[in-house]
Symmetry: C2
Subunit: 422 residues, 2 copies
């Protein structure tokens, strides 16, 4: 043992190590990667005490800093939650490996065989906040899709994340996979995040997860390609022909079932010919669930139990029990409102008019457009992906719920017998 401690690795050292690990993962079989995932799942349970102890430091720090009870709860890890994380990691192991899947293939007229196959990105960077379970989630999804993960978590969970990464690295090394497939750069603080965003060539794609502000900062500052997982100012439009039961059920489900998530309803638009018929039962049910109605003038005439809406309401993702409501002249005015105020996440129309439904589906420019369904279905699990990396609101590469396939790029493989171009 040397008396002189080795210098701590620089951020570039860590990214370079992750890049090297990614080359091993790129050609690792699904069996080997699944061994790694199962080892991580077992290690999370076996090291529960060590993880909960580190989490205790983060929780104590949060209390000292006067962090609210709900954020403290999101930060908390206990044996039950670690068992849940282990199960989720085992579930990822049970999914189909996207790597190597043929996307397209054919033989060219000159006899060249052409195949487009899915390959890992290489190194996937993630910048996220608060909940330490994201650390394991992203590492597991990256590993399954053959990518190394470089993680930059929130400072509130720094102790928890440090130990979670240690435990995952030990588990990987234990089954002969490179520990550097999972790397944290939390120790480099704010400068580290900036350096990560400039690490072209070492990091292949960057995924921000968290507040709109965090995502916006990464999108604006990153030189590395970003997959934007955005906010949801989500709309439902009740057309003149909407069925009352469907209208009540869909709006209630979209707003109340889980109001704090991005696919929850934020603005309800109602055709003026249906306002008197639909607003009382729809908004009455919401009020009974404790929802505050922010209505335009016409809405409050029909349903006075609300507060006046301003332009700010149309732009707001409440993420709570508030709803903006506006009466519109027709589907055109509804689509104009959506074009102006939507974040292009999910919009749904409730209607029985076929032509109107088809126009809405064709003309509304959002990641997910629906007819007669709750916006809460915009979700990787509900879509049958088995896992969700996030919900993309950008148009490049992935749009809407992202599964494992969205964590891959592709490569063209050309097989010839001496062909040259004429």
């Amino acid at each position: 043992m040397s008396l002189i401690a080795a210098p701590a690795p620089s951020l570039t050292d860590k990214l370079t190590a992750a890049k090297a690990a990614s080359r091993v993962l790129a050609t690792a079989t699904a069996d080997r990667k699944d061994d790694g995932l199962r080892a991580i799942a077992a290690a999370l349970v076996a090291n529960a005490d060590r993880i909960v102890e580190a989490n205790g430091l983060d929780l104590a720090n949060a209390r000292e800093n006067g962090v609210g009870a709900s954020l403290q709860d999101r930060l908390r890890l206990d044996a039950d939650r670690l068992a849940g994380l282990a199960s989720a990691t085992e579930l990822v192991a049970s999914l189909v490996d996207p790597v190597g899947e043929s996307v397209r293939g054919k033989v060219l007229p000159n006899g060249l065989r052409l195949d487009q196959v899915r390959v890992p990105f290489g190194v996937v960077g993630a910048i996220y906040e608060a909940r330490p379970n994201v650390t394991v989630d992203i590492a597991a999804l990256a590993l399954k899709s053959g990518n190394a993960a470089v993680l930059r978590g929130g400072s509130a969970a720094q102790q928890s994340n440090r130990v979670l990464v240690e435990v995952m690295r030990e588990a990987l090394a234990g089954v002969g996979l490179p520990a550097d497939a999972v790397v944290t750069i939390d120790e480099f603080g704010r400068d580290g995040a900036g350096e990560l965003m400039r690490a072209r060539g070492l990091v292949d794609v960057l995924i921000p997860r968290g507040s709109a502000e965090l995502i916006d900062t990464v999108v604006r500052e990153s030189k590395v390609p970003v997959i934007e997982t955005g906010a949801g100012v989500v709309h439902v439009f009740l057309d003149a022909s909407a069925d009352e039961t469907w209208a009540v059920d869909i709006v209630q489900n979209a707003k109340v079932q889980r109001p704090s998530v991005c696919n929850a309803l934020e603005t309800l638009l109602v055709h003026r010919d249906a306002a008197e018929r639909l607003l009382p039962p729809v908004l009455g049910a919401l009020r009974a669930s404790g929802v505050t109605i922010h209505g335009d003038e016409r809405t409050l005439e029909v349903f006075p139990d609300g507060v006046p809406a301003t332009d700010d309401d149309w732009a707001t993702e409440y993420m709570g029990l508030d709803l903006a409501v506006r009466v519109v002249a027709d589907v055109d005015e509804a689509m104009e409102h959506i074009a102006r105020w939507s974040t292009h996440h999910t919009e749904s129309i409730v209607t029985n008019d076929l032509a109107t439904a088809e126009r809405f589906l064709a003309e509304v420019d959002s990641a997910v457009v629906m007819v007669n369904a709750s916006t809460r279905f915009t979700d990787g699990g509900e879509f049958g992906f088995g896992a969700e990396v996030g919900i993309s609101t950008q148009k490049l590469h992935a749009r809407g719920p992202m599964g494992l396939a969205e964590l891959t790029s592709s490569k063209w493989v050309v097989r010839g017998r001496g062909q040259v171009r004429g």
Copy 2:
């Protein structure tokens, strides 16, 4: 007619107009878009005099500025070249429209019908240099895929581009399509390019085409998502078991057939066990075609008719009759060289060893990997796409030759009968 001239539109005005036009294009049928393309083709021929006259101003300006003969030639438009551009535009009209194509679809367990369909990006921006035919190329590909095009061409072709855009806008308006589907922002100069790169929300994707320096600037400065079409430091590796005829033919074709393009060979790697057998015939044929050999020490021992290579040579895209040549110990050293120096465009191995071929195809991380074929086949036309937007060397969204499908995003369409989430 007003005596007071209307103020010239600002850049934001023009982008906003393009965005509005893109909404019309997004739901235009393929027949309508093809009418527009055929009208553009006819107008290019009908307005040849007007276009050639404007081009004459650019050419005169180029001569005054002492621009070289080859660049002047690339800048030149005449009746023949305009007829060629018209044919190319008609060819785009004859291709299959990618918009509306179903990518995936299924019925979920709860009865929801889910379809992922191709939709246009919306507004595609292009920043490019020199050749005015790119102005028509990009506008035609964007129109076919339902996108509005915002064009920022090189100042050397500004007069030509201005008239080409005028002619295309008139043609579109003549068939009832929005003229603002094609917009130039050349009049805003360098500031305009910067503003375009910051126009998030108005421009959906930006494609730089031109020099490595131009592409690098756009990638680093743009806040709008970019599809990078990169440089090609392209490699061929001659394995120990390479067939001599294939080695000679493939290297000759890859280097000499059209040395100025991105899929041309720049560095040849040779297995040391094959150096004495293969280098004399392979390099002899290249020398006979006027290629200068930049060889490492071992290469020059076997084939002395060359100059010593330095690290600069490994990093250089010559785009001319020069070739870097290195003798390597084995396929591992070849792949290490490629990992270090390649721009990840195209690499090809010439071999008869199955295991080595499969390792090369699996482990080399480039957009296109080949066995026993010329690197010149990396091309949208050769791949059967009918048209080529460029060759992407990034991993997000599109990798390798990009056809019309790569100019689209997708949208999830969900059809229900009142479903809500449990």
